[in-house]
């Protein structure tokens, strides 16, 4: 089933497009990696998918009208929140706020969803810990649990492993992969890590100096923009 369909989307700032003519479909269960050079518009595209930014032309359609643009995502790591007084539980629960509707407080089932996601990401024991005291990897897990509270079946990740040490990076990838394979969560991931893209993704969207294109992983590896090929 197609979850998101981008029709000839162009994006940019101040009337100047940085990405043009993007056409792609994301089906449920897909693992899409968005790759490309710095400043090529990967994060801009993600903002457009999240509804934080308007497209300059074209359209982004969501199959599930009920959820509409409500998406959960894992933002790029930032130090901004490192002083924020909040427990892991409070952070994870905040993922549910978008679905409160006219209500003001979380329902029992909402709290259960939050607990389940903490468990799924292996951080149940950290629930009462302050978010600011977590390691980089634990923080990413907490934010991932929050994203899953917002939307069960799709997550958007922006450079999920930047700043993590090799062991934490490996853990993070395993976790994302397991959510994708065993729980059927659609994954859209921006990454610089081409190896990871090839290893985990089934589809690749390349955005960069060459015309953007959307293909399967195999075709991407065979394409002229694949780094190993460029060097050769």
């Amino acid at each position: 089933m197609v979850q998101i369909k981008c029709n000839d989307v162009s994006l940019g700032y101040d009337g100047k497009n940085i990405v043009e003519h993007l056409d792609f479909e994301i089906e449920s269960g897909d693992f899409l990696c968005i790759v490309g050079d710095n400043g090529s518009g990967k994060t801009t595209l993600m903002k457009a998918l999240l509804g934080l930014k308007k497209v300059s032309s074209g359209s982004i359609d969501f199959a599930d009208r009920a959820t509409g643009r409500r998406l959960g995502y894992l933002p790029q790591q930032s130090e901004e929140r490192s002083e924020f007084p909040a427990t892991v539980e409070e952070v994870v629960l905040s993922g549910l706020v978008g679905s409160l509707g006219a209500k003001c407080f979380f329902s029992r089932s909402g709290r259960k969803t939050a607990r389940e996601n903490l468990y799924r990401l292996g951080i149940s024991d950290l629930a009462k810990k302050p978010f600011s005291k977590l390691s980089g990897g634990q923080r990413q897990r907490a934010l991932l649990a929050r994203a899953l509270c917002a939307v069960e079946d799709m997550i958007l990740l922006d450079e999920p492993v930047s700043g993590l040490d090799p062991a934490a990076t490996e853990d993070m990838y395993e976790l994302i992969c397991e959510l994708n394979k065993n729980h059927g969560v659609t994954v859209i991931m921006i990454t610089h890590d081409i190896d990871a893209a090839v290893r985990y993704a089934n589809k690749v969207l390349y955005i960069g100096k060459e015309p953007s294109f959307f293909t399967s992983v195999d075709e991407y590896v065979a394409s002229p923009v694949f780094p190993a090929r460029k060097e050769a």
């Binding site: 999240l50 509804g51 934080l52 509409g68 643009r69 409500r70 998406l71 959960g72 995502y73 933002p75 929140r81 002083e83 924020f84 007084p85 909040a86 427990t87 409070e90 952070v91 629960l93 905040s94 993922g95 706020v97 978008g98 679905s99 409160l100 003001c104 407080f105 979380f106 009462k128 302050p130 929050r146 994203a147 917002a150 939307v151």
Partner: protein, 281 residues
């Protein structure tokens, strides 16, 4: 000691002392609640700017001879809050500079208007009083108190109902927007309520010291609390304790109310800072 206690009991037999205490506590609760949000959203300077605007508006209201100054002060301050918050996003003049501009401009204009047109014989005293809170909290009427109680009640109910949304928007505005929270509306309401609290708190501590009431309890609480919920609760407790203590001390020692309350807040911050270091929070 017993003597002091007797003195306090004696003072509480007067209406104006009781009113001052009730208003002081209510304003402190509201300021402490929204102070946490302002500090975490990094909006502290907006609170400072707004208090100066409230001073300017008060000066104009005084000169214009309006019987109820609130009629001018409240709308002007609320409007400025909305403009400043909107300006933070996409104006030519960057957010913090526009706050500084508006803030200092309002101060200058306020004093100019007061000294040029005021019919009062003691302009310097009037200005000093409105900046540092004079003793006007001890001249509150029953109507003032009822107004303050109703506004505080609204602020409190709003805070409880919007608690989860405010946490989400304060913690991560972009994420909450992406999940369907109306963050812009939330920010607007926070700005309006901040303006209302500032106008109320101005009576207690004066224009220059209002932001102390907003930020000190929140910053103190953040030293010792681990969760958002406990930060909010500790902030309220500290704020109420400092204001009650400050008001009582100012009556007993005949010191100006505003600065005494703020001094209590500074001491509380020092204690929390030390406690935070010792507890390694």
């Amino acid at each position: 000691m017993a003597d002091m206690f007797a003195k306090i009991v004696d003072y509480f037999s007067y209406d104006f002392v009781r009113y001052a205490m009730i208003v002081g506590i209510l304003v402190s609760v509201c300021a402490a609640l929204f102070g946490v949000i302002l500090v975490l959203k990094r909006f502290s300077f907006i609170g400072d700017g707004l208090s100066h605007v409230a001073f300017g508006a008060m000066a104009i209201a005084a000169v214009a001879g309006v019987s109820d100054k609130m009629v001018i002060i409240m709308p002007v301050t609320i409007l400025t809050a909305i403009l400043l918050l909107g300006a933070g996003k996409n104006a030519k003049v960057k957010g913090e500079s526009s706050v500084a501009m508006v803030s200092v401009g309002a101060m200058a204009l306020g004093y100019l208007v007061m000294s040029a047109f005021s019919s009062s014989s003691n302009v310097a005293g009037d200005v000093c009083g409105s900046l540092f809170g004079s003793f006007s909290i001890l001249t509150l009427t029953k109507a003032d108190m009822i107004l303050c109680i109703s506004i505080s009640a609204i602020v409190l109910v709003f805070f409880v109902l919007a608690y989860n949304r405010m946490f989400a928007v304060t913690f991560d505005e972009d994420f909450s927007k992406a999940t369907g929270v109306r963050a812009a509306l939330n920010n607007l309401v926070i700005a309006v309520i901040t303006a209302v609290i500032i106008v109320l708190a101005q009576r207690l501590v004066g224009s220059l010291l209002v932001s102390a009431l907003l930020i000190f309890p929140a910053l103190s609480a953040m030293r010792v609390a681990r969760s958002f919920r406990s930060t909010v609760i500790v902030s309220v407790i500290i704020s109420v304790a400092c204001s009650s203590f400050g008001i009582l001390a100012s009556i007993l020692l005949s010191t100006p109310v505003g600065p005494t309350v703020v001094c209590a807040d500074i001491i509380a911050f020092g204690i929390c800072f030390a406690a935070g270091k010792i507890l390694k929070r």
